[in-house]
Amino acid sequence: MASLSKASDSSSQRSKRSDQGMMGRDAAAASAVPIHGNLTQLIRQIKSGRLAYIKEKLEANRKTLQRHSCALFDVAAAAEVASRGTDGGNALSQRAAEGQSRLAGSDLANGIEERDVVYMQEENLAAGTLVLSSSGAAAQRTVVRFVKLPLVERIPPYTTWIFLDKNQRMADDQSVVGRRRIYYDPVGNEALICSDSDEEIPEPEEEKHFFTEGEDQLIWRATQEHGLNREVVNVLCQFIDATPSEIEERSEVLFEKNEKHSASSDKIESQLSLDKTMDAVLDSFDNLFCRRCLVFDCRLHGCSQNLVFPCEKQPYSLEPDENKKPCGHQCYLRWREGFQEMHDDGLGGCATYTMESGTASHKVDVNIMSESEDSNREKGNIRSMTLVGTSRSKIISSVSAEESTTPPSADTSETENVSSDLPPSSLRKHKISKHGPRYRERSPGKRQKVFTSDISFASNILNKLSIPEIRDTRQESRESGGDKLQIVDESTKKTSSKDICGESPTTTTDNVGRESNKVSSTNNLLEHTLSCWSALERDLYLKGIEIFGKNSCLIARNLLSGLKTCMEVANYMYNNGAAMAKRPLLNKSISGDFAETEQDYMEQDMVSRTRIYRRRGRNRKLKYTWKSAGHPTVRKRIGDGKQWYTQYNPCVCQQMCGKDCPCVENGTCCEKYCGCSKSCKNKFRGCHCAKSQCRSRQCPCFAANRECDPDVCRNCWVSCGDGSLGEPPARGDGYQCGNMKLLLKQQQRILLGRSDVAGWGAFIKNPVHKNDYLGEYTGELISHKEADKRGKIYDRANSSFLFDLNDQYVLDAYRKGDKLKFANHSSNPNCYAKVMLVAGDHRVGIYAKEHIEASEELFYDYRYGPDQAPAWARRPKGSKKDEASVSHHRAHKVAR
């Protein structure tokens, strides 16, 4: 019958739990007895159900198996049938007959009963015969000639390995740390259990109990019959290896499940994908796409990388509106034409409708925001700051309202509000700086709100909130509207024109008299258009702004195709989007160029999205640091060869890297993958070499053990043709950089063969010159801790393919690598290994130390540390595979 001894399997932890359950039961023993009996019966039912299930399964399997074996029999029989006609017949029948005849003399009748007949064989290797003798009643000898299997030379042993053309980071499930390993002595059969010292084995975590179907059934029926109370749970604890709270939780889950099940048909929740936010949609992209290798599921840098958004962007082309052709009949340009016609008379001089944000418009945006904030405060209309969006929508509304009545009016009203001792020209800046800190304070919260939760919700509410305000400001503006056209200078003209474009189409500036009628319709429209935008559309729109700038044609066509028309996008841009877009500006001091900040805001947005919680806490301090190649001391250290390189991780700094920059802390240079700008002081700037092919120490890249990078260096350029295919022309006057071999994979052909020294060896196919690049030593990137563990295992097998890469990683080519892993050690080598920084990654290149002839074997100095070197490595010529390592330390290869 079924083996029910589950207790033996359960860990001590689990049994402890059931002890607790027992104690609980004792307390309520009296009342629990009937429940207990009931449950025992239930369990019996479940168990017999399980047995029946197994029996059924086995029976079914037996039947299929019968079919299978019959089919196999048919196959085997078919072979017989097929050969029947031919002369092949039974190839062994003749032999069998011989065999029978050989044994004919022996008394086989006795043989059947007990061990009467014992056949003995004697091998006569010299004669190549086998002598068969039976020790039964009748002794008899027969001779069979050996058929010799000719010798085939065996190949040197190796473990199957996978070719890697690029280093890979170790997958988590490949770790040997904390795993018990059992080794058997290769000679004897003695078991050596080699568990690493106990303290290294991690404590088993308090794992959550996984409820089986049977347990679910038990809980369900028990709670159905007895209700969910303490006693029942306590009794259940005796039968199920789970804590009472887990059981309670589970029973609730089951209850819900059954509820749902019984509640008629399942409701299919067809949620439109549009309800998701961009973050949710992009999550898999952000998690799986490697921005350094430009591939999905990068094996080198892994998934869930820290997202780094560069603070400098490629500028998008700003095409003046006038040159553009409408992208379709729903293009905003068409609408604008109509609009222009409608309002040309009213606006008079405001002819230019530059929709793209220019310098001036920006100034005004900022200006207005602070103004509206100011005026709001004056009026005592300030909403609580927790409703961050409120202020924003206030801004929106006030922008549309105030802008609609020309800025001069606002200006004037403000001059009244604020101290009047400042001249109007300087006032603007003064005010901004005054409000700057306040905005900055608020900005984190605001950002969070906008990007984590649904914008639509916030803005919808706020929209409604803003309605009365629009009226308010409108009233105000109407009052001041009288003298709006009085002050007309260069800048104000420009700004007003822009601002008019920014407002909603029905809000007219000049027709003040008609305005009161239109206010309500404006609001309706505003509300309508804004609420129609789903969260995803909003996010797509923002992305569009980031990519194309304020070009509604391109945004609508490329990102919102089928969702929104160009006109809708344009509408949105100037109602809501524009205001939203301005927001991030507030969190930085407006000291720089305004035109630049316009672009910056989006990027800052992106940077702020960086998932800091994903960041791996690897920014530990190191004993040795080295800075950019410009430092003279560093060069010496690089040549030193004893210190470790520091792993580079892109920083997410904005603009300039300060002391807090992880790159600076680690002592690595900032690379092109960092978030910081090109002018960052910690950035490696590449070389400007125009001679020596970047292969001498004169080249700062070469001197810093880096390969040149076409993105960074001035003259190092890779081209894939002569320009006939339309590729960009080569820079640097045809300068040939010789320091990009790893990057471009310009390696030599390496051959694998039987080494002259021991085991396998790597050979070169074609002759090479001194310092030529031969190939890369690739492998799995593993941590130093992992390498220590693996090293112990490899030392048993006397073959180690570990290679120290930097302070964080060791390369292990044991199961994954390339042919260069078979190059043997020599203290008088013809090659050398060098760790190079290639596009932010450390890689090991093997270079020729001298001229090497074709098909020569390759050796390099593994550079074992003095305490690590195995005994053989100390002798002049040895091999890594020959002898046992004497040292207790693992043997690592080290580059020079």
């Binding site: 019958m1 079924a2 083996s3 029910l4 589950k6 399997d9 479940i46 168990k47 399980r50 086995l58 399997n61 299929t64 198996l65 019968q66 299978h68 074996s69 196999l72 029999f73 196959v75 085997a76 072979a79 017989e80 050969s83 031919t86 092949g88 190839a91 062994l92 032999r95 069998a96 065999g99 044994l103 022996s106 086989l108 059947i112 009963e113 007990e114 007949v117 014992v118 056949y119 064989q121 086998l130 069979v144 050996f146 058929v147 010799k148 299997l149 010798l151 085939v152 065996r154 190949i155 042993p157 199957t160 996978i162 997958a171 499930d173 089986t212 347990e215 059934q217 290896d241 199961r815």
Partner: protein, 352 residues
């Protein structure tokens, strides 16, 4: 890839099966044949061809020997092959059938890692396959395509070969492969693209060749040098099962279920539930456990008869016990040290 452990708890218990031989089918040795001084590591009947159902082979040391069972319960020595390398020690053998003329092929391999294909009809070495980086622990033949063999090696790989053309078609190793010696492999009885492997990394892995079947077909018509064949690596199994907590030294398909054994004194019958769409996922369900007392030495294999009605296993190094799984057991041969073989054929002979 994540290893899958068996479900635990109420409703997942395994039934306890019995391997105790029933009285009426207790097998007694009726003949003893001592073959040299070296231990015999493997023995196998020819299941591939109905003509040769009465033929079996043994390997031990550097010798491969074939016998034929006789009507009277005895058996006759047919052929003896000897490797010129005295240090070779054959660990495993398997019968195969030639693709062209259907002549019986005997495939044997061992410590040298070289697979020897012997044509028993002509008594000549047909081919030798060099490629494995270390010794070979087990070879099995695909019964539905008897020129396909699969080999499990100490070099952590499993390889699929075409005996007909001498091509190594696929190598099962890499990212999802075994992390220590592979000890045993077995083809699925009906699904030609599927097999299971197990080894010293305590796991059983189920592999599928579905996506690579093109190469299998290609291997039959390959006329160029075998070394030029585009051998493919299969890096990810369909399922990784952590049924045992020690070396898994034998695995056999029983229909769609798997019988596997470790050193825990029991043979476990379990059901792998794979998911077609998402390899690596699924579950395993331990159905039955057969206790085998005194079977805690590793590298003892068990074996079933043609119809999977009988299972034979050696206990420790001395005892052998027959296990009637159903009925129809007729002929048992036991080799010391490692493997016991059962065949559904007339009289009972014990080899010791």
């Amino acid at each position: 890839m994540a290893k899958l452990g068996p479900g635990q708890g109420l409703g997942c218990e395994a039934a306890e099966g019995s391997l105790v031989p029933s009285r009426k089918r207790e097998y007694k040795p009726c003949g003893k044949h001592t073959e040299g001084k070296r231990p015999l590591y493997a023995i196998g009947f020819n299941f591939m061809d109905a003509r040769y159902y009465d033929v079996f082979a043994t390997v031990g040391g550097n010798r491969v020997t074939t016998y034929r069972c006789l009507e009277n319960g005895s058996f006759a020595l047919l052929q003896a092959y000897i490797d010129e390398d005295k240090d070779e020690s054959f660990y495993t053998l398997s019968w195969a059938r030639d693709h062209d003329d259907g002549s019986p092929l005997l495939v044997a391999a061992g410590s040298n890692g070289i697979i020897r294909v012997i044509n028993c009809a002509t008594e000549k070495l047909a081919k030798s396959f060099v490629g494995h980086g270390d010794s070979i622990n087990e070879i099995r033949t695909q019964p539905l395509k008897p020129s396909l063999i699969i080999s499990a090696s100490k070099d952590e790989s499993v390889r699929l070969w075409n005996v007909h053309t001498g091509i190594c078609i696929l190598i099962f190793a890499g990212a999802g492969g075994h992390r220590n010696e592979v000890l045993s492999v077995d083809f699925h009885p009906s699904d030609i693209e599927c097999f299971a492997s197990c080894g010293m990394d305590n796991t059983v892995k189920i592999w599928s060749m579905k996506e690579f079947w093109l190469y299998v077909d290609k291997s039959y018509s390959w006329t160029d040098l075998p070394s030029k064949f585009p051998t493919k690596y299969v890096q990810f199994p369909v399922l990784i099962a952590a049924v045992h907590s020690n070396y898994v030294d034998c695995t056999r398909w029983l229909g769609d279920f798997i019988l596997s054994k470790s050193v825990d004194n029991e043979i476990v019958l379990w059901e792998p539930k794979t998911k077609e769409q998402s390899p690596g996922e699924g579950s395993i369900d331990i159905l039955q456990k057969y206790p085998v007392p005194e079977c805690d030495i590793w590298f003892i294999k068990f074996s079933c008869d043609f119809h999977f009605n009988q299972l034979a296993i050696a206990q420790s190094l001395e005892l052998a016990k027959m296990a009637p799984y159903g009925d129809g057991m007729k002929w048992i041969i036991r080799a010391p040290k490692t493997e016991t073989s059962v065949a559904a054929l007339p009289p009972v002979v014990m080899l010791d």
